[in-house]
């Protein structure tokens, strides 16, 4: 068997809240091979960011994770703090969700990149600064701007600066957490293009966290679709998006314009994700699913391997063709009220 | 406030231990002040003599004189109890006056903006440049040492803090839609200020009011300690002044500790109450 770079096994993460523990992530399995890029998709609050923070061990103190996160043969949930610090940025770097606030406002951007380099490598300041200049060239920002403060940058430039910083130590894995959501469409496209080029060049692995499946389609080979803290479908991008087996994936597809530019009416999935303090019995998507039957409210669906490496967690994978046809129609999503009725 | 709101207040209060301590302490001092004439064991100004006719000069605490006596043979316990009244009168009067003056200036400055705001804020800046205690001392020295002159001197300076904070709050409230709506409906300035803005300001005013109370008590004590206290009243500051003049620190700790500790606890209760009020009245400020 091929040695994977990152292997997440049965990861569950809970937060404490006043109402009780929030089961933000439950029983998640993700495998990532060297050089691969993986998209992690789902609505906000579905646990994507929690998984990232679990990997980086950046969860708040009251959160607990169980399961295993094997990175380079070590379980990241068990290694010491100082070992974890060595892995951060040097082996796994992160492009954060809100680049707007991710740079320290009182230091020059260049100094912050130099700081990242010098935390992990004993190089001189001049040398580190030279590397920062090269990085800025790669992400397409004038190197003179390294001498400026974050507030002098535009949103897109800050995002590029963070990407440059993420590349600084040639990490094995780059995690991009909604890297483009805060930006306007034109800049978004530029940044995504840049990320694609860089990934080809550096051969790092990448996890792209996003709620926008078109971003995944453009940048990734594999995809993991999450709903309410659980993985509902995973596999290669091509298979999952062309032959979705889970109604949620079908719904997500409707909510975004098609990858190939085919015109679709955008249909959104009605309703809201369930409360994760008291998650519903059975399939977590059942309440919003137009195809749900009694069994969906009773038992949690097993992961079914519908094709080689393509897994879906739905009771009705056998009726997939039927569901796919129905899912394309607007009435399917708007005409059912049974979720509410069942409550 | 409705019943539900009161319930929330009560729940918050029970959770907030420091706030509870603050309210309890303040209630304690208020009770002592109200019933002072019944609590005191002796006339605070009367001089006491021992059985063989000597003046009780800095006698140790005993069952007769709980906190001992001063060098003039006066009962310290009764003095401290009597001082509670003075402290609370000064503290509460100043707090009310400072809150009203400070809030009104802030409302006017914040609401009218432009040159009115500019002028009033420059005045506030200038008042910030005045050294508080020396000013109060000179005022009292010139006007004569009476408790009312002390209160006036404190109020003349203390409004500055309240004004500065409340004004910025007024500025933000002014931008809200309901104010704009009231304006469109043709409400006059006076009506908008007092019917629409002022009610939203009151919580913050109360917070700064309880801080002002502490300030006033400390300032009165300081002025008295410097020898400009009201000669007709027994205040905590004045007890400490007498003790200091008599070099009691080396010999009679019972003369120094009770009045000082009383000031500290009362001022502290003001801090705790204000913090607690802030959380109860303005949930958006609390985390």
């Amino acid at each position: 068997m091929m040695n994977s770079l990152l292997d997440i096994k049965n990861l569950s993460t809970n937060y404490q809240s006043l109402a009780g523990p929030v089961r933000a992530v439950e029983d998640v399995n993700i495998t990532l091979n060297p050089g691969e890029s993986l998209g992690l998709v789902g609505e906000s609050g579905c646990g994507k960011t929690t998984i990232i923070k679990s990997i980086m061990r950046l969860l708040p103190k009251d959160a607990t994770s169980t399961g295993e996160i094997i990175f380079d043969d070590k379980n990241l949930l068990e290694i010491s703090n100082s070992d974890m610090r060595k892995i951060r940025w040097d082996r796994i770097s992160i492009v954060t969700q809100s680049a707007m606030n991710s740079l320290d406002p009182v230091y020059k951007v260049g100094d912050q990149i130099v700081e990242a380099i010098r935390t992990h490598e004993s190089v001189s300041k001049q040398e580190a600064w030279k590397r920062a200049e090269e990085l800025f060239e790669i992400v397409g920002v004038d190197k003179d701007r390294l001498h400026e403060y974050p507030h002098q940058y535009s949103g897109g430039m800050r995002q590029r600066a963070i990407i440059a910083m993420a590349l600084a130590l040639n990490p094995d894995l780059i995690v991009a957490d909604e890297p483009t959501t805060a930006l306007d469409v034109v800049v978004q496209a530029q940044i995504l293009k840049r990320i694609r080029e860089i990934q080809k060049r550096t051969k790092s692995s990448m996890i792209m966290v996003t709620h926008d499946i078109s971003v995944v389609a453009e940048t990734c080979q594999k995809v993991v679709v999450m709903y309410a803290g659980k993985v509902v479908e995973s596999g290669s991008v091509k298979e999952v998006f062309e032959e979705p087996h889970h109604p949620y994936t079908m719904g997500l597809k409707n909510a975004f314009s098609d990858i190939k530019g085919e015109k679709f009416e955008l249909i959104s999935i009605p309703g809201y994700p369930p409360d994760l303090v008291n998650p519903p019995k059975g399939c977590r998507f059942a309440e919003r699913c137009p195809f749900a039957t009694d069994i969906c409210y009773e038992t949690t669906p097993d992961n079914t391997e519908v094709n080689n490496g393509h897994i879906a967690a739905c009771h009705h994978v056998d009726k997939v063709n039927e569901m796919r046809e129905e899912a394309k129609k607007r009435e399917t999503w708007s005409n059912f009220d049974k979720g509410v009725a069942h409550k | 406030m409705s019943f539900v709101k009161w319930k929330r207040v009560f729940r918050l209060l029970l959770k907030d231990k420091l706030g509870l301590i603050g309210f309890a302490l303040m209630a304690f001092f208020i009770v002592v002040a109200i019933f002072a004439p019944f609590i005191i064991t002796h006339d605070p100004q009367a001089q006491h003599y021992s059985d063989n006719g000597d003046l009780l000069n800095m006698a140790k605490p005993s069952s007769e004189h709980y906190f001992g006596t001063t060098n003039m043979g006066r009962d310290i316990f009764s003095q401290v109890v009597a001082g509670t009244r003075v402290a609370l009168v000064v503290g509460l009067t100043c707090a009310v006056m400072v809150t009203i003056i400070g809030t009104v200036i802030a409302l006017v400055a914040g609401y009218f903006g432009k040159w009115v705001d500019d002028l009033l804020m420059r005045i506030t800046d200038i008042v910030y440049g005045i050294p508080f205690l020396p000013f109060a001392m000179i005022m009292v020295a010139v006007l004569g040492p009476s408790i009312w002159n002390i209160i006036i001197a404190i109020v003349l300076i203390s409004w500055r803090t309240t004004t500065r904070v409340i004004r910025s709050e007024v500025l933000s409230i002014k931008q809200r839609t309901f104010i704009q709506a009231a304006k469109l409906n043709g409400a006059g300035s006076f009506r908008i200020i007092f019917r629409h803005i002022a009610p939203n300001i009151i919580p913050l005013s109360l917070v700064f009011g309880s801080l002002a109370m502490g300030w006033a008590i400390i300032t009165e004590a300081s002025i008295s300690f410097l020898g400009y206290g009201d000669p007709l009243l027994v205040s905590w500051g004045k007890i400490l002044f007498d003790a200091y003049i008599a070099h009691a620190i080396t010999e009679a700790w019972w003369w120094v500790i009770p009045p000082g500790l009383s000031i500290t606890l009362l001022v502290m209760s003001g801090f705790f109450v204000s913090r607690s009020l802030e959380e109860i009245l303005n949930p958006r400020l609390s985390r």
């Binding site: 610090r85 606030n101 | 020396p134 400390i218 620190i249």
Partner: protein, 325 residues
């Protein structure tokens, strides 16, 4: 930047001018016969007349004001009724001890406040936090002169650790500047009043530092720094504290405001020969020229330290552009 400082300087001058004017009216508009206020009754007759003439008290108010301003601008604050010395010389004599005591007190308070504020925020919810905050609030609520009295009673009289007040032992430290202020003996006298003053001032900057730290710790860049593999120490000191300092700087101006009052009480309790004690003594002796000049000087100190805090803020925060004063 330069134009900002210039604008603030102009504002400062206007403030000072109004302070001087206020001072003029404070002593003259008030009820009572001004001559008794200004002139020591114990003075011989010709001296009294000289004083009345010097201040122009026999002239109408506007002429008095003009004369008063002229004297002020020329730095002529008159002659002390008490010591018969020019007021300027007298104040010069008392100013240095105040600067040393006030400087060391505020500096000590700020250092302690910043460290305690940072640490209490970092260990939020711990016992240490609860104790540190309560102790700081206790000292903030206690009258400074009372803390001074108690400290003297226990640490000086009982334990003999510190001198019982004053700036020097009798017969020492009156020779030159260095012999006066740069000796161990002076330091020994300085420590206790500085600690007492600092204990009083520390709470408000500490609480500001604490809440500012708590806010900063939630910022995304702190998390990114953690993701960068920085040690907790580096994050705490290089990033969190550095950012959280900004609101504390604004707080300095407020501390200085009440530090002047605290200074007066501190100097009285510790028998410190500074301008705080000078103003108390001069008021009680009706030494009006000295009181007026000292009061003015204190106002100047408050106003200028405010100005410095403003400029320092801009220096620490690169986002401040100084376009708007």
């Amino acid at each position: 930047m330069v134009s900002f400082i210039f604008k603030r300087l102009i504002q400062t001058i206007i403030t000072l001018y109004i302070l001087i004017t206020l001072l003029f009216f404070m002593f003259r508009i008030l009820p009572g016969d001004p001559t008794t206020m200004f002139v020591d009754a114990a003075l011989p007759l010709e001296a009294r007349e000289a004083v009345l003439e010097q201040f122009g008290l026999d002239k109408p108010l506007h002429e008095q004001y003009w004369l008063y301003m002229k004297n002020f601008v020329q730095g002529d604050f008159g002659i002390s009724f008490n010591s018969r010395e020019p007021v300027v010389d007298l104040i010069g004599h008392y100013l240095m001890p105040t600067i040393f005591l006030m400087g060391s007190t505020i500096l000590l308070a700020l250092v302690i406040a910043i460290i305690l504020g940072a640490v209490t925020a970092w260990y939020r919810g711990s016992k240490f936090e609860a104790i540190a905050v309560s102790v700081a609030l206790f000292f903030r609520s206690a009258p400074i002169f009372w803390i001074g009295m108690v400290a003297l009673a226990f640490l000086s009289h009982q334990l003999n650790l510190f001198p019982i007040g004053g700036m020097h032992e009798p017969g020492q430290g009156s020779n030159g500047f260095f012999e006066t202020y740069f000796t161990l003996e002076f330091l020994h006298h300085l420590i206790l009043p500085s600690i007492v003053g600092a204990a009083y001032y520390v709470a408000s900057p500490m609480l500001v530092m604490r809440s500012s730290m708590i806010e900063i710790m939630d910022e995304d860049f702190i998390e990114l720094n953690r993701a960068k593999g920085l040690s907790e120490k580096a994050i705490l000191f290089k990033h969190a504290v550095r950012n959280a300092l900004l609101p504390v700087v604004t707080e300095i101006a407020l501390i200085v405001g009440f530090a002047i009052g605290g200074q007066v009480l501190l100097e009285v309790v510790f028998n410190w020969p500074g301008i705080g004690r000078l103003i108390v003594d001069s008021i009680s002796r009706n030494d009006y020229p000295v009181a007026q000049a000292t009061f003015f000087l204190m106002g100047v100190i408050v106003i200028f330290l405010n100005l410095i805090a403003d400029i320092l803020y801009g220096y620490l925060d690169p986002r401040v552009t100084y376009k708007k004063g």
